[in-house]
Symmetry: C2
Subunit: 218 residues, 2 copies
Amino acid sequence: MDKKIPMEKKVLSENDRLAQEIRERLRQNGVFALNLVSSPGAGKTSLLEKTLGALNDKIGIALIAGDVQTENDANRLIKAGGKVVRPIITGGACHLDANMVTKALAEIDLETVDILFIENVGNLVCPSSYDLGENMKVVLISTTEGDDKPLKYPAMFRRSSIMIINKIDLIGHSDFDLRHVRDNALSINPELKIFEISCRTGEGLESWFGWLLEMSKY
Amino acid sequence: MDKKIPMEKKVLSENDRLAQEIRERLRQNGVFALNLVSSPGAGKTSLLEKTLGALNDKIGIALIAGDVQTENDANRLIKAGGKVVRPIITGGACHLDANMVTKALAEIDLETVDILFIENVGNLVCPSSYDLGENMKVVLISTTEGDDKPLKYPAMFRRSSIMIINKIDLIGHSDFDLRHVRDNALSINPELKIFEISCRTGEGLESWFGWLLEMSKY
C-alpha cells in the first residue's frame, strides 16, 4: 500500500486547491457552507428535511446531496421543499471531493443562497480527508451507534466544528451515555460545539435552527 | 481522480493474490472464515461477544478485530472470553486489506481454529472492494439505520452472502420496515441468507449460532 501514498498526496493537494477556489467563491457570494458527515443512517437527510421545514421561508437554502448510489436523498429533500437541490452520485467513491462540488455549484445561482448544505456520503472515515470548501464540517452521531465513536474515528471529530447527537429519544434503549460521548468527543476536539436533538420528536431542533439563522447572516 | 485508477487496480490485484493465499491456507487448516462488515455502531462487536458467550466452549474461535483507531473492540472480545484475538489498527485506512490479515494470521495457530471472524472497519463502502480470503462476507445492518441501505450501498450487499438485521428490538421506534429492507436487499442479491436478531434481547441469535455450528464442520 505504501506505493499509493504519493498519488494520494497529489490527489489531496489538487483537491485542496479546488476547495480553496470554492471557499473564495462562496465567500464572495456571502454563502455559509456546511459539510455534513456521519455514519450511514445517522440522520443527515432527516435533519435537512426538518431544517427545510423550519427555515425554507426565512433564508435561501441550497443543498448538494451526495450518495454512492441512488438519488433517494435528493428526492427526499425536494419533497421536503428544497428549491435548490443537486444530487451527486459518486458511483462507488466513498466520499465527495472538491471537483464534484465544483461541478454541482456550477448549476446553482449563489446570489440567492444564504446557507449551502453539502450532505456527504455516509462514512466516518474517507470524507474527513477531503476539504470541500465548506466553512465548517458538521459530524452527526446517533445514540444507537454507541458512545465510543469519537475515539474510534478521531480524524472526523478533530476536523469537525460541530457535533450533532441525533436520536436522543432512543436513549435508554441502549448503553449509550450522553456524558461519555461528550467527554470522548471533547477529548479529541475541545472546540466542538455540540447540539443534542431528535429529528423524530423535534427535541433540541430549535437551538440548531437558531444557530443556523445566526450563521446565515455571515 | 482518473489518474488514480491504474494504481488502485494494481493495489487490488496484489490484494486479490494475497487473499487467495489466505483462502488456501485457511482451507488446508479446515478454518471457515467470515468477514464482518457494517456501518459504525451496527453491532459487529456485540454480535461477536454474544457468539463467544454461546460457542466458545464448543468450537475453536479466532477473531481479528480491525479498527481505524483504538483496540477497544479487541479488548471487548478478550473480556467476552475470546482466547485468540488479534487487533489491527489501520491508522486511518477505511478498510482492512489482505496484507494486514496475512500479518495477523501469522500469529494464530490455525490448527486449533474452526471459525475465524474478521471484524472489518465500520464502513459500508471501502471494505466491499477488498477480498480478505474469507469464505463469506457477512453484512450487518441495524434497524435504526433505515431500510434503504441496501439500495444506497449496493456493492456491499451484492458481495455479501449473509445479511444480519440487528436491533430488531427497536423496530417501532423508527420508520424501519423489515419487509422493505428484505425486499431491497434481495433485489440487489437474491442469494442473500438473512438473519433477524437483537444482540440486546437475544432474539434470533439461536438460529445464527446453529448456522455457525453447521459451518464450523466445514
